[in-house]
C-alpha cells in the first residue's frame, strides 16, 4: 500500500513567531487510514492540518523546512489549488468557507473548478446529498441553515471532488451525538470501500475513538509555556499509544488510568473487556490497593481539575432548592409563524447547573435567548427575582456560540477588564485588573493574558469569551455550546469555574451537544425535543440510559456511574468487576 501523506523533518514557524509551531515532524500515513489528530487546545493541530494541503505555508506565510508530500506531490511546489483534485479541506468554521449560495451549487463548486463533466457532477451531487443525508437542504441558502447542517454540507462539498485525502478540522463540533455518529460512519464507509484517507482533528474523543485506526498527537507549539524546544512536536502511532503520549483520552481511558488498566481502553467495548479481564484474573484487589491512592489524590485535587464531587454538588442543590428562584420561565417562542418553543416551563434556583440537551434544531439556542430577554416570548413570560423581566447583561449574561462576536480588545486581559468596567465592577477596592487576573487564572489563561485574543486558537478564544461573559457578574450565566475546540483539560477548568460560580449562590444554564460535560458538571438536565421539554431531572435519570445522550462511562457500565472518577471510585470500593448491566 502506498503512502497518502508524508512529512519529512518538517519545521514550520509563523511569521514573527518566536518559536516553531511544528518542529521536526516526521510521519507517514498509509492510504485508506482514518486518522485522529489530537492534542491540547492551541498545540498546533490546525497548523498541522493546513500543512497537508499547502495552506501552510502558501497562505500563512512563515518558513517551512523539510518536505510535505500528498499522494506523491510536494505542497511546497504545488499551491493548494494545484492539489485540489487529491486533497480536500474542511476548515473549523465552514460557514465562512462557502463560496456560492445554494447548497446544491456549493456541492458542485469544487467539481466545476476541476472541469468535471456535467453528467458526472450531477450524479455525484445526488450521491453525496444522500450519503450525508442533506437532500432536503439542496435548494436552501448556505447562509440560512443551522451550524450542524453547515458542517454536513461542508463535508459533502469536500467529498464531491472525489479526493484521495480528506482533511477535517473538528467536523462534528456542532453536531448532536446521533448526527456525529452518522457522519463518522459515512466517512468510515468511504475509508473502507474507496480507500479514502481521512485526517481529522477532534476533541470529543469518545465520539471518534471507535472509528479511527491511527493517531497523530500534537503536544505543543506557539505560545505554550514550556515549549517543545529540542523535541519533535508531533507523535504518531496507534491511537491508544498516542493518547497516552499526549496525556489525554476519552472518559474510559481516564478510567483506565485511574484503575490501572493496560492497554488503555478507548471504546465502550474495550472498557468492558478490560473490566472483565481484570475481574477474571482476580487482580482487582491488588489493583485497587495500588490505585486507591491515585483516585484519592485525583479527587482531592479535583475541585480545580476533573473530579465531579457530585455528592457535594447534590447537597448544594438540596440546600438551594428552598431558596429564591433566579429565573422563572413559562413560555412559548416563535420565529415568524413557526413555533420553536412550546410551553416550556423552567425554574432555576441558586446553586444549580442545568445542562440543556437535544438534537440540532430542538430549540436550545432559542431557549437561552428567551431566558436572556433578547428573544420575545410569543406566549407566557420570563421573570427574574422580583418578578420583572430579565435585563440582558445584568440579570442574565450569555456567552454566544460564536465567541468572535465578543472580542474587541488588544489583549486577553483588557477583554475581561472591558466587561468589568462596563458593569461598574471597577470599584476602588477591587480593581478590574485583579478581578480579571483571578478569572483568567481559574480558566488557565493566565499565560495568555497579554496575547491578542484573535491570535489564539478557537478553543482559547472561546475560554476568553467565557471569562468576558462571567465577568459581567450576572447571577445567572448562560452558555451556548461552551466546549467547541476545548481539550479535556480546558473542559475540566471550565467545569471547575462553573462549579465555583454555582457554589457562590448563582446558577448556570448551558446548552450543549457535549454529553460528557453534562455528566461532569450538571446537577440537572433538561432535554428538549421539537421545542418541548421531554425530560427534566438529575443527569443519571435523564441521560444515564439514553441510547443517544448517555456519556461513554454509562454506556460501558450502566447508568449508575456517569464519570470516570465516579466509576473508578465505585470499581475500587466494591472490589468487584463492573459487569455490564446491559
Amino acid at each position: 500500500m502506498s503512502e497518502a501523506v508524508v512529512f519529512e523533518n518538517v519545521t514550520f514557524t509563523y511569521p514573527g513567531a518566536p518559536s516553531p509551531a511544528l518542529e521536526r515532524v516526521n510521519l507517514r500515513i498509509e492510504e485508506g487510514s482514518f486518522v485522529l489528530v489530537t492534542g491540547p487546545t492551541g498545540s498546533g493541530k490546525s497548523t498541522f492540518l493546513r500543512a497537508i494541503n499547502g495552506l501552510v505555508p502558501h497562505f500563512s506565510g512563515g518558513t517551512l523546512s523539510g518536505s510535505v508530500t500528498v499522494e506523491g506531490r510536494s505542497t511546497v511546489s504545488n499551491a493548494p489549488r494545484a492539489l485540489a483534485d487529491v486533497v480536500a479541506f474542511v476548515p473549523q468554521d465552514p460557514g465562512a468557507a462557502f463560496v456560492v449560495d445554494r447548497v446544491e451549487d456549493e456541492l458542485a463548486y469544487g467539481m466545476e473548478n476541476l472541469g468535471v463533466p456535467p453528467s458526472v457532477m450531477r450524479r455525484r451531487v445526488e450521491e453525496t446529498l444522500d450519503l450525508l443525508d442533506i437532500e432536503p437542504l439542496r435548494g436552501r441558502s448556505v447562509r440560512s441553515i443551522s451550524g450542524g447542517e453547515r458542517q454536513r454540507v461542508a463535508i459533502a462539498a469536500a467529498l464531491t471532488v472525489a479526493p484521495r485525502v480528506l482533511v477535517l478540522d473538528e467536523p462534528t463540533s456542532q453536531l448532536d451525538p446521533q448526527g456525529a455518529e452518522d457522519v463518522l460512519a459515512a466517512l468510515q464507509r468511504l475509508v473502507h470501500d474507496l480507500g479514502l484517507t481521512v485526517m481529522m482533528a477532534e476533541h470529543r474523543l469518545e465520539r471518534v475513538a471507535g472509528f479511527v485506526d491511527f493517531a497523530v498527537g500534537c503536544r505543543g507549539g506557539r505560545g505554550v509555556a514550556g515549549s517543545t524546544a529540542g523535541r519533535a512536536s508531533v507523535v504518531s502511532g496507534p491511537p491508544s499509544e498516542v493518547l497516552e503520549a499526549v496525556g489525554t483520552g476519552p472518559p474510559v481511558a481516564r478510567l483506565g488510568r485511574l484503575v490501572g488498566w493496560r492497554p488503555l481502553p478507548l471504546t465502550v467495548r474495550e472498557a468492558r473487556r478490560a473490566a472483565a479481564s481484570a475481574g477474571a484474573q482476580s487482580k482487582v484487589g491488588a489493583a485497587s490497593a495500588g490505585a486507591q491512592s491515585k483516585v484519592g489524590a485525583a479527587s482531592a485535587g479535583a475541585q480545580s481539575k476533573v473530579g465531579a464531587a457530585s455528592a457535594g454538588a447534590q447537597s448544594k442543590v438540596g440546600a438551594a432548592s428552598a431558596g429564591a428562584q433566579l429565573i422563572h420561565a413559562h413560555l412559548s417562542a416563535a420565529y415568524g409563524d413557526r413555533t420553536v418553543l412550546e410551553r416550556v416551563a423552567l425554574v432555576v434556583r441558586p446553586g444549580e447547573i442545568v445542562g440543556v440537551v437535544g438534537r440540532n434544531g430542538a430549540g436550545k439556542t432559542t431557549l437561552l435567548r428567551s431566558l436572556a430577554g433578547v428573544h420575545p416570548a410569543s406566549a407566557g413570560s420570563v421573570a427574574v427575582q422580583g418578578g420583572r423581566a430579565p435585563r440582558p447583561g445584568s440579570d442574565v449574561a450569555l456567552c454566544p456560540q460564536d465567541p468572535d462576536s465578543l472580542l474587541f480588545k488588544e489583549t486577553v486581559q483588557q477583554e475581561v477588564e472591558a466587561t468589568l468596567r462596563a458593569r461598574g465592577k471597577a470599584g476602588p477596592s477591587t480593581s478590574p485588573a485583579s478581578g480579571a487576573e483571578t478569572l483568567l487564572e481559574e480558566l488557565g489563561l493566565a499565560d495568555l493574558a497579554d496575547r491578542h485574543p484573535r491570535d489564539l486558537s478557537a478553543g482559547q478564544r472561546l475560554l476568553v469569551a467565557v471569562a468576558a461573559t462571567v465577568a459581567a457578574g450576572a447571577p445567572l450565566l448562560l452558555l451556548d455550546e461552551p466546549t467547541r475546540g476545548l481539550d479535556v483539560e480546558s473542559k475540566a477548568r471550565l467545569a471547575g469555574l462553573l462549579r465555583g460560580f454555582a457554589r457562590a449562590g448563582r446558577a448556570v444554564i448551558f446548552a450543549t451537544h457535549d454529553v460528557e460535560l453534562v455528566a461532569e458538571v450538571a446537577t440537572r438536565v433538561v432535554m428538549l425535543a421539537s421545542g418541548e421539554v421531554v425530560a427534566d431531572g438529575v443527569p443519571g435519570e435523564v441521560i444515564g440510559d439514553s441510547p443517544v445522550f448517555s456519556p461513554q462511562i454509562a454506556r460501558a457500565f450502566g447508568p449508575r456511574w456517569l464519570t470516570p472518577e465516579a466509576a473508578a471510585t465505585g470499581i475500587l470500593q466494591s472490589g468487584s468487576t463492573p459487569a455490564s448491566v446491559r
Binding site: 493548494p80 489549488r81 485540489a84 463548486y109 473548478n113 441558502s141 441553515i145 450569555l398 466587561t419
Partner: protein, 265 residues
C-alpha cells in the same frame, strides 16, 4: 452620462421603491420560504440582512442628500447653488437606492448561473462583493446582541469599538477563510465546467431588453430625444423633461411585474 434632472431621478427612485416592495419579499422564492420554516435564528437573521440592506442603502441615500445640501452653506449661498447641491445629493441618493434595490431584489448568485461562461470570474467577484452588505448587517446584529448580553451597552460613540471591531475583524477573518477555501477547492485552475446553468427565460430576456433600451434612451437623449439631463441652475430655470425619458425611467418598473424566473435546466 449622468443626470441631475429631478423629473428623471424621482421616477427612478419611485421605481426602486416599487420594485423593492413588489419583489423584496417574493425574491426569496418558495425554496427559501420552506427553509424559513425549519432553520430558526440563522434564517431569521438572513432574511433580516437582505431586507435590512435595502433600508441601510436608502438611509445612506437620505444622509447623502441632506449632507450634500447642507455642505453648500459653507460656501456662497445663492438659490442656484442650493438647488444645484440638492440635485447632486438627489442623484447620489438615487444611485444608492438603485444599488440597494438590486441588493435586496436580485440574487447575485442566480445571476452568476445566468452569466455566460467567460464572465464567470467577474460575475463571481461581483456576487461575493454584493453579499458583503447583507452579511455585515447580520454580523452587526449578532455582535450587538452578544455585547449587550455581556453587559456592554452598544449605544453612543464611546461603545463603537465594541460593535465595529468584532464586525470588521470577523469580516476580515472570514474573507481570508473564503480565499483559502476557494484556493483549496481549485479556484483559478483555468479549466471549468458548469453545473446546471440557468436558462434565459422570457422574463430574463425582457428584463435585460428593458434595461438596455432605457440605457440607450438616456445615452441618446443628448441628440434625438431632446436634452434636459443637466439642469441649469445658473440662471435657475424650471427644468424641461422629455416624456420619452420619463417613460424610459418608469419602464424599469416592468421587471417588478414579471413572473419570477424559471428554475434550473
Amino acid at each position: 452620462m449622468s443626470t441631475t434632472n429631478p423629473f428623471y431621478l424621482l421616477p427612478l427612485a419611485a421605481v426602486c421603491y416599487f420594485v423593492h416592495a413588489a419583489r423584496g419579499a417574493a425574491s426569496a422564492g418558495p425554496q427559501d420560504k420552506r427553509g424559513a420554516a425549519s432553520a430558526g435564528p440563522q434564517n431569521e437573521r438572513g432574511a433580516a440582512g437582505r431586507a435590512g440592506s435595502f433600508k441601510v442603502f436608502v438611509l445612506f441615500g437620505l444622509v447623502a442628500l441632506v449632507t450634500r445640501t447642507v455642505l453648500v452653506f459653507f460656501g456662497p449661498v445663492t438659490p442656484g447653488s442650493v438647488v444645484a447641491a440638492a440635485l447632486e445629493g438627489l442623484r447620489l441618493a438615487t444611485m444608492l437606492a438603485v444599488f440597494g434595490t438590486f441588493n435586496s431584489v436580485a440574487d447575485p448568485f442566480r445571476l452568476l448561473k445566468l452569466s455566460p461562461r467567460r464572465f464567470h470570474e467577474p460575475a463571481l467577484a461581483a456576487a461575493l462583493a454584493l453579499s458583503i452588505a447583507p452579511r455585515t448587517i447580520v454580523a452587526a446584529g449578532r455582535v450587538r446582541e452578544a455585547q449587550r448580553l455581556r453587559g456592554i451597552d452598544i449605544s453612543g460613540w464611546r461603545a463603537l469599538p465594541a460593535l465595529a471591531v468584532p464586525v470588521l475583524a470577523t469580516g476580515m477573518e472570514e474573507a481570508v477563510t473564503l480565499a483559502e477555501s476557494m484556493d483549496s477547492r481549485g479556484h483559478g485552475r483555468g479549466r471549468r465546467s458548469r453545473y446546471r446553468p440557468e436558462r434565459w427565460g422570457a422574463a430574463a430576456w425582457a428584463t435585460a431588453a428593458i434595461g438596455v433600451a432605457a440605457a440607450f434612451a438616456f445615452v441618446g437623449a443628448d441628440g434625438a430625444l431632446g436634452g434636459g439631463l443637466e439642469v441649469s441652475t445658473y440662471p435657475l430655470v424650471w427644468p424641461a423633461a422629455s416624456p420619452w425619458l420619463v417613460g424610459a425611467a418608469l419602464s424599469l418598473a416592468v421587471p417588478g411585474l414579471l413572473p419570477a424566473g424559471p428554475n434550473h435546466v
